[in-house]
Point group: C2
Chain length 460, copies 2
């Protein structure tokens, strides 16, 4: 077998022990919060039947799905017409039956439909799994990355939306973030606005344009609105809405005036108010004032969401949104199960990782696994340390004995590289006296302890 | 978008909350033990460059690797010769550059070579990730399944082998297994046997035949040995070796006599003795007597292992091996890094899952996430319970409020289905008195508690 210089597949990453510990810190924190709010974890397979995924993400999305080549003689099924046509797109469904998960939403919808007779509604689930996209790799964008989704289906109550605000706040605070905003909007408010300017069919055009306010500014938005068929009269109505400022409560009050003639619009406002009411009753006045922010220009995933829409941004680091979600009324319709309402949010794990890294918020202790390394002097002292090694481990303490009697310097470097905080020196003298020398790597300080004292010291 | 009846891709599974909790119980137990022995977790990407994987698993293995179809116009690179030939095997490397991980060993070897200047030797890593194989699915065999590997590279010390015995024993005992054997052999002993019968080139033939003793019995083994070119004289020497019985110590003593003229064979015996010595010094006499078993017929993965060989079998359930491993002297040679010794073991997570299920060894508490459900009577009492809900969660207790005031029966069914042990009933009366009714689902028993008592009860 010829030796080849190994490389990673484009757009993928290895995770070293330190990176694993950091990522696990994020996942475990999220998992803990999700569970506290009554959500249970599920997992779906890495690949699905191709037809389960195609047609769900738009034409561009379909192209980014990784297809798995059929095993065996895959060319056998290719028809003579296809041989003549030589069209890759036409060939795909014939030579590929399976595809890698592109997001967690479609597999979740499939899961709910397939297991509808086993699961109890409302079904509260979370899912933390990698997804794969054939995107052009670039800084911060990978072809394999994790999504963390929390959803509840089968419950129309806005208590769920309120609890998602709390889940966001609690998880991000636990991760150490101090200054972030949870933006809230409602698709019905956007529908109401399109209705009052008499352009309900231009709803998507309107929101696509307004959604860009952050990026292209008010003039840019107006330009785009004109291009998309809005008149100057429309613009004059839209202007105060787009520019709306003030506190969330002031915005809600203003929207009530603007949308008074739109039933759907008023329903959207009432829904947001209801989420605020829940949070207030839960004693979250500070959160509502400082963190939650009504943002009428927020439109993400509009074709999909039917009620409340969420987006989370950190103000401590320059970074896109680190989370988002909303309510949808037809998640499972694509698989034949109609009228099942759901609401969910997701956390952008990779971005959160980068934010914590930049703010130096990962706990130090995450990067070590062993608490102590027992240095290996020679065969004789090695024997003497074996019972100690076992007793420490029996006490639940992560300890290593260096496996060979190599130079002490090399053993110290090993402890250093693995961030092992203590090294135990057991020479002939120590074996005789039963008192070991414990070196604190960080300070170089040494202390002399017998086994009992050592157990007490490391176990505490 | 047409509605399609959803199905799983062949050979794949969903994991429901209960199944996830069970699997996480296994993974977390293993993780805890691995870390206690100084092993750190890494992860590699789900797909690798196809050339990283092909040629590593034999011809049959190569066929079972899932290949990923190139994105875009993948037919563009197909040559006119290939168009004419219509040979699927020839086409693969042209239309597929990437493939799904087939095991954890080859990606680990790639990892070690690519990161050789960052990692500190000895490098102790574990990896718990799914792998994919295009096998024909059958009962208990899936196309996506987890492997759990623990390896150390860069250390020749047999202390590592001894610690792997302890890792197996501790992990399986923690999972609740009571009767299992850790079988131990050494490739050098097998080489020694082939040497003393003067057929070193028939080593593989010999071990393939002997390895089948369990399945086809002594007569079957002898028949196969004859077919593979062994004479009656050879068989008469092999016979007492194959039939060797008694304790491990007796087998070791017997092998010393048989192999006295084979340097390599004696080295193999000394290595096994050394592992036993380590374990004895660690106070593991009972383990050596009851659990560890020298088995000269054990040959698994012979082309690969160069020293000690492990295999684990449970005696409580009829099941193939639930773990195995060994020492290899050339893991990374395929990627150009020579002479790096390593030793590792793996746990068969799916089989262990089935064993624990059959023996009913999964802890009950794993199947619930919330400790208590607060029943939802009506809008007014709902409001009154919101502060309580938040305070319980602030105390770290996993609690849910049913999101709608539906019939109590339905809410009870929900708690039942989710294995939530307690339901809190908060009606108008309870709100007034500040004393809530806590129902224990298991017994139907009710008790009346104020908030403080409830916190104490659930928090303990």
């Amino acid at each position: 077998m010829a030796s080849i210089k190994p490389s990673l597949a484009k757009g993928t990453r290895d995770f070293s022990p330190v990176e694993m510990d950091k990522r696990n810190h994020i996942f475990n924190t999220l998992r803990g919060v999700f569970k506290k709010y009554g959500y249970n974890e599920i997992q779906t397979p890495s690949f699905e039947n191709l037809q389960t995924l195609t047609g769900k993400y738009g034409e561009e999305g379909d192209k980014l799905i990784f297809k798995i080549l059929n095993s065996g003689d895959f060319l056998r099924k290719v028809s003579e017409d296809m041989w003549a046509g030589r069209d890759s797109n036409v060939w795909v469904p014939t030579i590929s039956e399976k595809a890698l998960r592109y997001d967690l939403t479609v597999p979740f919808a499939r899961y709910v439909v397939m297991h509808q007779h086993e699961i109890t509604m409302p079904f509260k689930r979370f899912q933390i799994q990698p997804v794969w996209r054939a995107d052009r790799p670039q800084r911060g964008r990978y072809r394999e990355f994790y999504q963390c989704d929390v959803d509840v289906v089968g419950s129309p109550s806005l208590l769920n939306e309120a609890e998602f605000v709390l889940i966001y706040a609690e998880a991000l605070q636990l991760l150490g973030l101090k200054d972030f905003n949870i933006k809230l909007n409602n698709r019905k408010i956007l529908s109401g606005i399109a209705e009052i300017i008499g352009k309900p069919t231009l709803l998507v055009d309107m929101t696509v344009a307004i959604d860009k306010l952050d990026k292209i500014g008010l003039d840019g938005v107006n330009k785009e609105l004109r291009e998309r068929g809005f008149t100057e009269t429309d613009l004059s109505i839209l202007q105060p809405i787009i520019e709306m400022s003030g506190s969330s409560m002031e915005k809600i009050a203003a929207m009530k005036t603007v949308l008074v003639d739109s039933a759907i619009g008023m329903e959207g406002v009432r829904e947001i108010e209801s989420v605020f009411d829940y949070l207030r009753q839960m004693g979250q006045a500070t959160l509502l004032e400082k963190v939650v922010e009504v943002d009428i220009t927020l439109a993400r995933g509009l074709n999909y969401y039917t009620g409340c829409i969420f987006e989370v941004k950190t103000n401590e680091v320059k970074m896109g949104s680190i989370g988002g979600g909303g309510r949808y009324d037809d998640l499972t319709g694509m698989f034949g199960l109609q009228n099942l309402t759901g609401v969910g949010i997701s956390f952008g794990a990779d971005r959160i990782y980068d934010v914590l890294e930049e703010l130096n918020l990962f706990p130090e202790s995450q990067s070590a696994s062993s608490v102590m390394l027992i240095a290996n002097f020679d065969k004789a002292t090695e024997s003497s340390t074996l019972p100690l090694l076992c007793r420490l481990r029996q006490a639940g303490i992560a300890v290593e004995l260096y496996p060979e009697p190599v130079k002490l310097k090399k053993q110290m470097s090993y402890a250093d590289a693995k961030h092992i905080p203590y090294v135990l020196l057991v020479g002939e003298e120590e074996v005789k006296s039963g008192r070991f020398t414990l070196k604190t790597m960080h300070t170089g300080e040494q202390q002399h302890l017998n086994e009992e004292e050592l157990l007490g010291f490391l176990g505490s």
